[in-house]
């Protein structure tokens, strides 16, 4: 599972506790992933079971990090990657990346629709386009991709802009697709005779 390796990677960068990892994930990967905090904790547990990360033992003398408390008073556990963990992370970086299948509810509705659904499907394309906009709004004012070429930001900033640009590109392609199928469906909707000959 990718989240597991992302958490391992975050701990390879520097040690951290659960909520800190949630925030760093959001910061570096961006809003597109829409990961809930629970998934990070699940990944941490799994990594610990596999011996890839370990909680840092409290050392006497200084303020031990493990004795700091969370909001609810539970002890806050700080994790670090083990040597095996670091090695496993490097292996993961070196392997190829699989592509997730494209699974959208709208695709299923389209596939299983009837000509009488046309008006509603057309409206759905508007709703979907609006949803794309709301996601794009989260990127408003962000560092544009172009800035990378004209300045010399740290690599982490470059990487995060490139990841965000992936979502922007995906949303743009989706909107263009929605406009294309909407035009086709409107054309068919206005010419019932063209539809009848196809059913």
């Amino acid at each position: 599972m990718s989240v597991k390796y992302a958490v391992l990677g975050l701990l390879a960068q520097r040690r951290g506790y659960g909520y800190d990892l949630v925030q760093r994930f959001e910061e570096q990967v961006g809003p597109a992933w829409q990961l809930n905090a629970g998934a990070i904790y699940v990944a941490l547990d799994k990594l610990e079971q596999e011996g890839l990360v370990r909680p840092i033992a409290a050392s006497d003398g200084e303020t031990p990090p493990t004795r700091r408390r969370t909001v609810r008073g539970a002890p806050r556990v700080i994790y670090e990657a083990t040597p095996e963990g670091l090695e496993r992370f490097e292996d993961w970086m070196a392997t190829g990346s699989s592509m997730s299948p494209l699974r959208e509810q709208l695709h299923l509705k389209l596939a299983l629709s009837q000509p009488r659904n046309l008006p509603r499907l057309i409206e759905l394309t508007y709703e979907q386009e609006q949803a794309c906009f709301e996601r794009l709004e989260q990127h408003l004012g962000g560092a544009p991709f172009e800035e990378l070429l004209s300045s010399t930001p740290p690599w982490s900033a470059v990487a995060s802009v490139m990841v965000r640009d992936a979502e922007i590109a995906h949303l743009q392609a989706t909107v263009e697709w929605l406009r294309r199928i909407r035009e086709a469906m409107r054309w068919l909707h206005e010419r019932p005779e063209a539809l009848r000959s196809r059913t």
Partner: protein, 248 residues
Amino acid sequence: MTLLSLDGVTKRYARGYREVEALAGIELDVHAGDFVAIWGGSRSGKTTLLRIAAGIEPPDGGRVVFDGHDLAALARKARARLLLTDIGCVWQTGRITRGLSVLDHVALPRFKVRSHAQARGEAHDVLERVGVAQCAHARWHELSDGERTRVALAHALIRRPRLLLADEPTANLNMIEREQVLGVLRSVADEAGVAIVMTAPDAPNLLQSHRLMSLDGGRLIKPRSEQRGTLIDFPGSRPASGRASRGG
């Protein structure tokens, strides 16, 4: 303060035997300092929308109100004056004044309020800001498409309009030029409080704006945060409307 308000604006064109709905009930309020980006492909109606907002073309229905004045109620001369003072436009088909260099063309609106040297100095600054200072002494036919757009932008900005309407100001630009132009637009909105309505054909060009919307088939699609009524009422989209077509 609402500077520009489009209220139920409609426009129809005849295309061959068919009537095409170029704009279908556009509702849009633009305030001073707003930077609105409209995402629309070709034939989406975006140029028509800007022309109507500028008062160059009258809408078939609805109202365009600029700074409290209904544009339709203004005399032609008053509308033309607005285009010289308060409303700046950047069109894709812009030209520069025949026989003038780029610098003089851009300086022209300032010649009557400043000395020629001062006006040229201002023009040079604006050209530099939009990244085409090197074209100052060129003639129109020597400019690339991207340079022409930026000269048109400089020409619009030098008059310090309160509303700037820009039709694809980032067309034909490379990445760095594009960022420079968007940066200028954003700072003009943020610092000088100019209201901007810009169109662009793709998403990366839109993200330096404050507000994002989309125009397709003459309908403006806004994020829910801006929604006044229902999104789009496509005829017959709801089973209860009784107009659902029975196909098959």
